[in-house]
Structure formats: C-alpha cells, structure tokens
C-alpha cells in the first residue's frame, strides 16, 4: 500500500506540471469533440491524431497523457452521438443507444446526457482505481511469462476477439489472419531475409501500422459517408434545458457500481474485453431489473449501466495493454501502436523501467476523468452544437488531417496510396461484416507472436509439446480454444441486441 502512494505521488508530480495538465485538458476537449462527431469513434479519433502527435515531437509521457486524455474524452463524447443521433461511435457504444435514443425521443435528452456523463465518471473512476491496484500485481505475474506463455496469450487474444461481438467466427478468424499475414511482410527478424515484399523496396520495412490503422478506420469511414451522403447524421431530437435529474441518479447509483465491476472485469480480458464489458453490463442490469425494468424503452438505468460498463471496460482494457502488451479493444490497440511508435515496449518491465510513464499516465487518467465530468455535464450544450457541423465539411476535413498526418510521419506517397488501399479494404470488410479490429491487432502483434513461437522452439530444440509445458500456457491455450468455440454455441441463446431503427 505504501508503494502505491509513493508511486501515485510520483505520478501526480508529473501529471500536475502545468504543461502536462494543459495537454490533459486539451486532450479531454478534443477527445469529447471527436467522440461526439457522428461516425468518428474513439479508435478513429486516436488513430488520426497519433501521426500528428508524433510529428509534434512530444516526449513519451506527454504524448501518452495527451492521447489517453483523448481516449477517455472520446469515450465520454461517444455517448452524445449515441443518445442524440442513435449513431454509436464504436462497437461498445452500441449498448448506450438502446435506451439512450428512446429517452432522447421522449424529450429526456438532457437527463440521458447527464446520467450517462455521471455513469461514465463512476465507471472510469472505479476502473482507474482498479488499474492502480491490479496492474502492478499482474505485472509481477507477467514476469514469469516465457515465450510459450506469450504465444498462448496472443492466441487467446486473437481467438476471443471475434467473440460475442462478431456474428461469424470464420470471419473473425479470417480478419486476424489478414492482419497477421500483413505483418509478415518485410524483413524476417531472425534470418534477416525479405518476405512477401515482391522486390518492392518500400515494403522492406514492413507495413507501418499507423498507415493501416488510419486507412482501415478513418478512410473507410469517409467512404461510408460518401455512400450515405451524410443522411444518417441529421439531428432529429431537440435538446431543451439541461437539468440534473437527482432522483434518477440516486436510483441508478448501485446499478452504476455493479455495471462498473462487470465492465472492468470484462475489460481486463485480452482481446474482446471492451465490447464485452458494455454488453455484459447492460444484459446483467436488464436481468436484475426484470420485465418491470422496461429496459429498451428509454429508462435511466438502461443508460447508466452500459455507459458505466463501457468506461470501466476502457480502463480495464489498459491493464493487459500495459502489463502484457496485449490490447483489450480497438482503441487500446491504437494506443499500443502509439507506445510502439514512441519506442516504449509495454510489458512487465515497463513498471520497473519507466515508472514515470506508467504512474504519470495513471495520475493523468484520474485528472482527465475529473476534467471530463466538469466539461461534460455543464458544458454539454457546446458539444451538442458541434454535432451540427455538416458532414460535407467534417468528412473532407477528416480526410485531409489523415493525409497530412501520414504524410508528415512517413513522407512517402507509397504510404498514402497504401492508406487508401486499406480504406477500401476496410470498406469491403465492414460491408461483409468482417470485423476490422482483429486486422489491426494482427498487424500490431503478428510479428511478436511469430517471434515468441520461434523463441519457444529454440528453447525446446523444436519440441512442440513445450507449448504445453507450464500450467499457465496450457491454461491459456485451453481458454483460447474455448473462447473461440463457445460463442458459436452461446449465440443461439444470447442474441446480441442489434441497432434499433426509427
């Protein structure tokens, strides 16, 4: 415990410097805007900002504080477009639309926004506390991880990625394979021989994951907007005066705390954590409330539960990302890309080698959370106004920011064209219901996964049974197989609520 407070004071020493504090406030503000803009979810927003952050030449801690503030901010902002427009910014935010949008249509838009803002705060705050306590413990466990355990862990992450959030296991697995396959392009780490480059010099270094991320998320989104002509994003509900609904808040207090717990635990799972978090939080509160709870018709608890769960899962998802280097959601995958760009290797050693980074990050999460609550409850009307930016200005803007970001990062046209290619791939994949997050994870983790497998085989002299030599790795491998097969059977009993239409 004494350790914890010493570490925290180190963290606050870094996070409370005027410059870092300013970055946190800017990040929160930008993040809320990005999250609130229809179609620009947290992953998109963080993705297009990474190249810019990098070219600004911020040091590791500053960059990380800025981007995690954007991440948390986007989680807060996402609820605004979920509730007012019925457009979830990303997969986990879908659950908030189920009761949030009906509430807004019933004329309770202001109440829904305040309740979800407070729920976001509760979820994110509890999860950050959990992160402070659990992450150092997990990092000690992670020290005992050898190559075999890491290989099993990566396999677990990939096999659970599809999980409940995908409708078709073959497509989820295929997406992982596409990502891992793309990661293979470039020089082989062990032998130094080129693989799959086709003699193209640009491909020798491999595919820059930022190019892939911005293409798959941001550029693909641009194509979707062109297809729909921005029709979906008209503001259909009115926001009258915003007051604080004390009774609803008091009534859903326990519900928020329970949902935070559920979301946090789900978020810790590598792979599909975050989307599972809001799903489980919503479903379990729906079950607790029973038929009289009227979930789905626009009740306060139906907004509070998924929003607390969603934000708690976002905090929980940082744990496997920081301690093991395995992200638990699309956005943490993007944050992992940021760490890798900054030359920080996440893993157990991060906590001992760079305590300034870890604890500065945790302290700034606590600060960001308070800033966000203050920003999002009284100032919600300002953000709502931003929703009225027409897509015909917003989307070209997003495209140009993406281009400039990638161009100033890599300075090559080849990468820009590659980014457009990834945009097309992302468009086709989303049309065919193939999830794109596993593609990103594959590109990020594919090489590490192969290297761990090969290291394990070097250690054992080529004996495949070595992969099952420890209890941890055997357990992880069994969990990987179960995690892949179970959803096929569960899908028959648990149907994922689909997006509601007017």
């Amino acid at each position: 415990m004494a350790d914890l407070f010493a570490n925290l004071s180190l963290g606050f020493g870094i996070a409370l410097s005027p410059f870092t504090l300013m970055l946190a406030v800017i990040g929160c503000f930008l993040g809320t805007i990005i999250g609130a803009l229809p179609g620009l979810g947290p992953s998109n927003g963080v993705a297009i900002l990474i190249p810019l952050t990098f070219t600004l030449g911020l040091d590791a801690t500053a960059a990380l504080v800025l981007m995690t503030s954007v991440y948390y901010g986007a989680m807060y902002g996402g609820r605004i477009s979920s509730i007012l427009l019925n457009i979830p910014g990303d997969e986990p935010a879908l659950m908030t639309t189920l009761d949030g949008y009906p509430m807004a249509k019933n004329g309770q838009a202001g109440d829904a926004l305040v309740i979800s803002g407070v729920a976001s705060f509760v979820g994110a705050f509890l999860a950050t506390i959990g992160l402070m306590i659990l992450a150092p413990m997990l990092s000690r466990v992670a020290y005992s991880f050898g190559p075999a355990e890491y290989f099993a862990l990566y396999l677990l992450a990939f096999s659970t990625l599809g999980g409940i959030s995908s409708n078709n296991q073959a497509k989820a697995a295929l997406a992982s394979c596409i990502g891992i396959g793309l990661a293979m392009i470039g020089l082989d780490n062990n032998s130094g021989m080129p693989r799959f480059t086709g003699g193209n010099l640009h491909l020798m270094d491999g595919i820059d994951f930022l190019v892939a991320i911005v293409g798959l998320f941001a550029i693909a989104e641009v194509f979707f907007f062109i297809e729909s002509h921005g029709k979906d994003s008209a503001l259909g509900v009115k926001l009258e005066k915003v007051t604080i609904p004390f009774r609803d808040l008091a009534n859903s207090g326990w519900c928020m705390i329970r949902a935070s717990g559920v979301g946090f635990i789900a978020g810790i799972l590598p792979g599909a954590g975050a989307s599972l978090g809001s799903f489980l939080a919503y479903m379990s509160e729906k079950a607790v409330a029973g038929k009289d709870g009227k979930f789905g018709t626009g009740v306060a608890k139906g907004v509070a539960a998924p929003e607390a769960g969603n934000n708690a899962a976002a905090g929980g998802a940082l744990i496997p990302m920081l301690t093991l280097g395995v992200p638990g959601s699309g956005t943490t995958a993007v944050l992992l890309a940021l760490l890798m760009t900054l030359n920080i290797t996440p893993g157990p050693t991060l906590f001992t080698d760079r305590p300034d980074v870890v604890w500065g990050l945790i302290a700034s999460l606590l600060i960001a959370n308070i800033v966000l609550l203050l920003m999002n409850v009284p100032m919600v009307k300002i953000f709502v106004r931003i929703l009225q930016v027409p897509p015909s200005v917003l989307i070209p803007g997003v495209t140009m920011v993406s281009f400039v970001g990638i161009y100033s990062l890599t300075g090559s046209y080849f990468d820009l064209v590659l980014m457009i290619g990834f945009g097309i791939l992302g468009y086709i994949c989303r049309k065919l219901d193939i999830p794109t997050v596993p593609i990103i994870m594959g590109i990020l983790l594919g090489n590490a996964m192969e290297n761990k497998l090969r290291d394990a085989m070097v250690l054992s002299g080529g004996d495949w049974t070595y992969l099952f030599s420890s209890a941890i790795s055997t357990g992880l491998l069994i969990a990987a197989v179960l995690g892949f097969i179970a959803p096929m059977f569960l899908r028959r009993y648990i149907t994922k609520p689909q997006r509601i239409s007017d």
Partner: protein
C-alpha cells in the same frame, strides 16, 4: 442467391494459396532456428484458406451494396485521393487540398457553391492550423514557383 460472401471467400482462398506458395519460396539463411521463416506464414495462410472455404460454404446474408451511381461516386473519390497523394508534394498543400476537399464535399452534399467554400475554407484553415499552431512545415504553394 448469396454471392458477396462466396466471391470474397473464393478470393480469400486464392490469395491464401498464393501466400502459402510464396512462403515456400522464402530464402532461408544459415542462421536457422527450428521453425524458420516459412512455417508461421504457411500456418496463417492455411487458417485463412479454411476460413475462406467456410465463407463459401456457409455465407451470411447479402449485404446492401450501394446502387451503381453511388458506386461511381466512390470510385471517383478513390481516384481523386490517389491523384491527391501524388500531387501533394509537387503542387504544395493549398491548391490540391482545396480541390480534393471540395470534390469530397460535393460527393456528400451535391451543392457546388457550398462544396467550393468548404474546399477553400478547409484548405486555408487546415494550413494555418498545421503550420502556425502545430508547427509542421508544409509547403503551401507549388514548388515550381520558388525555382
């Protein structure tokens, strides 16, 4: 008739086979480890091929593809973006950005006047933000002008 998934599945199988074939051609060096540089790509390719076969055999419902005109708009956008990628360096930021942002804006909301304003506004606005607030050094105008 459900075609999209089947066609995509077939493409996946073909690409996966090509990937595996190309993996067998990877040169190995004298620094050999028990697994080598070929095995993992072959494994990944095989899993992908199996997934492709599944998509052919058990396709999902047909997605809603855009009508032909919208598809044309998408194609135009892709071409414009590719051209933009190649013009960004020789012509500087301002002129290509104004045109491309305007064209994209027109694709989303077909009103020429509004699109032109959006294009020019975005080009100037982003240039100011990038160069003077974020401190990136973008070239604003065509390089030829400066010899």
């Amino acid at each position: 008739m459900i075609m999209s998934d089947r066609i995509f599945g077939l493409v996946v199988v073909l690409v996966a086979l090509a990937f595996i074939a190309s993996a067998t051609q990877i040169q190995t060096s004298f620094l050999a480890d028990p697994v080598g540089p070929k095995a993992f790509p072959i494994l990944v390719g095989s899993v992908a091929a199996v997934c492709g076969v599944f998509m052919i055999l058990r396709p999902d419902q047909e997605p809603e593809w855009p009508e032909l005109r919208t598809l044309g708009a998408l194609l135009v956008s892709v071409l414009v973006l590719v051209v933009y990628a190649n013009l960004l360096n020789p012509l500087g930021f301002l002129i290509p950005t104004a045109f491309v942002a305007g064209i994209l804006s027109y694709q989303i909301n077909p009103r020429i006047g509004a699109a032109a304003i959006a294009g020019v506004g975005l080009s100037l606005g982003l240039f100011v933000v990038f160069n003077f607030i974020l401190g990136l050094s973008l070239t604003g105008l065509p390089r030829v002008l400066f010899g």
